[in-house]
Structures are given as structure tokens and as C-alpha cells.
């Protein structure tokens, strides 16, 4: 856009229209005493710095090294995940689904943006957008290829559409060659996408 226009205004005070709309709404609610702007700061800080896919990675790594924990995670994921201190909003009712040599799991919410916030944090834009939500249930293989994941034709694909209040965490398979690895090192192999099902766990370098 050209900036050679001939009028006088203060660009520092300009917001794009949607930013202005959100600011107006926050202003109105604050002036009416309905919200506390400092609460917004705490919420944002929580999801920007405290709750994210590192939580889920620790859950998966523990399940890889601790069979008792893995069994509990399979039976009662909410309790297992809660035992590591991860609870709360959009993680109240958790279900863990385990990839096997035969079956790959993929999680979607076709109807909105349901996502396990307590273990993965806020969802990425693509998870909430129409291309993924429309295609994951009908053509998951081509979706996975867009993430660089080509599964063997014989691998079964199970898609979990999060239509109710259960939130799904995919437990990817533990990479080969990691037998002697610590839980901490293993957690570094577990990416957000591996826990949605659009990737596998990273291979050791």
C-alpha cells in the first residue's frame, strides 16, 4: 500500500477494524465493571507461558517408560494426567488413544474447535479452520500428507471426532533406538502434532 497520500492523521493511533472492535468491547465491559482487564493478562500469560504441549509431552514420555502409568492413562486418562498436575479448562474429561503398529489415531473437532487445552494448550489456527475440520473425517490420508506424513496403505486410520466433552490425546508410538533414554529426553521427541495425530513422534537424531 502506498503511503504517499495527502492527508494528516496520526497513524500511531490507528488500529485495524477488528482490533478496534475488540478494544471497544473490552473497554465497555471494563467500564461497566463486568470484567477485570488484569484477569485477561493472567489468562493470556497462562496460555502463552504455562500451559502448552510440553504438558502433553511429559504425559506421553511417562507412559512410554512407566507401564503402570500407561495402564492408568488408558483406563482413566483424567486421573493419570491430573496426577502430573495437569487439570482444568478443556481437560476436564480426558481420553488417551494409543497408536499401534496397526492403527494410527487422528483427532478433530468437525463442529467447532474442541481441543485438550490442559495438555496441549491453545489449538493452532489450522485445527480450527475449515480445511482440516472438513477433510480429516473423509480423507485423512491426504490431510496427513500435507503434514508430511505418509502412512503405509495397510495402516488403519481411526479418526476421533470430538463431538462431546471428551478431549482426546494421541499417544504416539515410542521411536526405536530410545530404550536407554530418560523420560526428559523422550519428552523432547513428542510434538504437539504427534499428540493430535498429524505427525509421529520425532526420530532420535
Amino acid at each position: 500500500m502506498s503511503h504517499n497520500h495527502n492527508h494528516d492523521h496520526d497513524h500511531d493511533n490507528e488500529l485495524d477494524p477488528f482490533a478496534a472492535r475488540v478494544r471497544a468491547l473490552e473497554t465497555i465491559l471494563t467500564q461497566k465493571g463486568l470484567i477485570d482487564p488484569a484477569a485477561i493478562d493472567v489468562i493470556v500469560d497462562t496460555y502463552e507461558t504455562k500451559i502448552g504441549p510440553r504438558n502433553g509431552a511429559k504425559v506421553v514420555a511417562k507412559a512410554w517408560v512407566d507401564p503402570d502409568f500407561a495402564a492408568l492413562l488408558k483406563r482413566d486418562a483424567t486421573a493419570a494426567i491430573g496426577s502430573l498436575g495437569y487439570t482444568g479448562r478443556q481437560g476436564e474429561h480426558m481420553q488417551a488413544v494409543f497408536n499401534t503398529a496397526d492403527t494410527h489415531n487422528l483427532v478433530v473437532c468437525t463442529l467447532c474447535s474442541c481441543y485438550p487445552w490442559s495438555v496441549l494448550g491453545l489449538p493452532p489456527v489450522w485445527y480450527k479452520a475449515p480445511p482440516y475440520r472438513s477433510r480429516a473425517v473423509i480423507d485423512p490420508r491426504s490431510v496427513l500428507e500435507e503434514f508430511g506424513l505418509t502412512l503405509p496403505d495397510t495402516t488403519k486410520i481411526r479418526v476421533w471426532d470430538s463431538t462431546a466433552e471428551l478431549r482426546y490425546l494421541v499417544v504416539p508410538m515410542r521411536p526405536n533406538g530410545t530404550d536407554s533414554w530418560s523420560e526428559e529426553l523422550l519428552a523432547d521427541l513428542v510434538t504437539r502434532d504427534a499428540m493430535i495425530g498429524t505427525a509421529l513422534a520425532r526420530e532420535p537424531a
Binding site: 477485570d36 502463552e48 474429561h93 482440516y132 473425517v137 473423509i138
Partner: protein
């Protein structure tokens, strides 16, 4: 409702286009949008079901033309107006002009950690025993309600198998409309890809939904 949100199996939206090292927020206003939405919800005037219904009630052109945080804010304005917290005059002025209804509570900064850690569990006791058990064959209802529902169109009138009996959960189809929680048993029901998509379906595909009991009939 058969609204713009019901995306499973729709075509024409193009590739997924994941963004490498995607940030949590793409603009500062998205941070405020998240926080305003959660703080407003914490007033306790509406349920998560009502807020989902407000989002899917956007005009389809508006829904598809909006980012998800834009959808949240547009729906939030609807909810705030419906419940008497904000008026059109407030929004036009960009500041508080009219008085507001009294909220049940206001979320203060010091209470945020506890509120987020507690969440909002939706499981409830159900007075009747579960009608189905794991392994039962069921058929989903074929219906097209004009109000909120969580049975996607692609999974209506289809035969599947109950894989798991979950808990009793608040029934969104009534709760979204202020008609009570009416909890029901929820089941994970799994369908063969071919049952849903017919000819040309991926033969290795199974798809599951979580279905409230009244969505299901014995097959």
C-alpha cells in the same frame, strides 16, 4: 442446526496449510479476544453450549470469512446483548453508555489460576441405567433440528457400534437454549468409513463420534 459449523465431509476449502512454528497469537488483539471471551463467560450468564450455538448461528458467509477469534468475538457480542450486558448503543459509541445487567460474578485476576485449574466439568449423574453397552450395534437418528445439536450431519442415519459407555453429560441440544441440562449417557460410537462415505471410502478408515443416548436407536 445444519449451520456453517457442521464441516465434516464438506469440500472446496483447499489444503490445510499448517504453519511452521506457529505462534499462539497472530496479533495482540487475539490475546485480548481470548481473555475477554473467557472473562465474559465467567460471569455465568450463559453456558458453553449457548456460546457454541451463538458461534454457529453466524451467517455462513460471515462464519467462513472469519478467523476463529473473530467468530468468538462476533458471537460474544450476540451473547452480551442477549443477556443485557451490552447494547447496540454501547457498541456504536465504543464505550459504556447504557446500564448493564448484574452478573453472577466477576472474574478477578487473583482468581484466574483457580478458575482455569478447576475448569467446567460437564458430567452429571443420570437417573436411568445406560441403555446401550459396549459392542451394541446402534443407528444414529436422521434428524435436522433447527436448534443446537452435536450430532454432525455426516453421522446421521448411520449404523455403528458402541465402543465405550462414557459418563452422563449435560445435553447440549436443550442446554444451549436455556431448557435445562437434562443429562444423558454419552457413548463413543464407531463407524466404518464405507458406512459414512460409501463408494470410494478409504477401506482402512473408521470414524468415531461421542453421541448422547437420545441420538441413538438399536440397530
Amino acid at each position: 442446526m445444519n449451520g456453517p459449523q457442521d464441516l465434516g465431509g464438506q469440500m472446496g476449502f483447499g489444503p490445510v496449510a499448517p504453519e511452521k512454528d506457529e505462534p499462539y497469537f497472530h496479533a495482540d488483539w487475539e490475546r485480548r479476544a481470548l481473555g475477554v471471551t473467557l472473562c465474559a463467560g465467567a460471569m455465568g450468564a450463559w453456558t458453553i453450549d449457548e456460546s457454541r450455538h451463538a458461534r454457529e448461528s453466524l451467517h455462513p458467509a460471515d462464519y467462513y470469512g472469519s478467523s476463529y477469534y473473530e467468530i468468538w468475538i462476533k458471537a460474544l457480542e450476540t451473547l452480551l446483548k442477549r443477556h443485557g450486558f451490552v447494547s447496540d448503543r454501547d457498541l456504536a459509541a465504543g464505550k459504556a453508555v447504557d446500564p448493564a445487567a448484574t452478573p453472577k460474578r466477576v472474574l478477578k485476576a487473583e482468581n484466574v489460576p483457580d478458575v482455569l485449574a478447576k475448569g467446567g466439568p460437564c458430567d452429571r449423574p443420570v437417573a436411568t441405567p445406560a441403555r446401550f453397552k459396549a459392542g451394541d450395534l446402534v443407528r444414529t437418528k436422521n434428524f435436522h433440528p433447527t436448534g443446537h445439536t452435536r450430532l454432525p450431519r455426516y453421522a446421521r442415519g448411520k449404523q455403528g457400534a458402541v465402543e465405550a459407555v462414557r459418563d452422563g453429560f449435560v445435553f447440549p441440544d436443550t442446554n444451549a437454549h436455556g431448557q435445562g441440562e437434562n443429562p444423558q449417557w454419552v457413548y463413543t460410537v464407531v463407524f466404518d468409513g464405507a458406512e459414512i462415505w460409501g463408494e470410494g471410502a478409504d477401506p482402512t478408515l473408521t470414524v468415531s463420534i461421542d453421541a448422547w443416548e437420545s441420538y441413538l436407536e438399536p440397530a
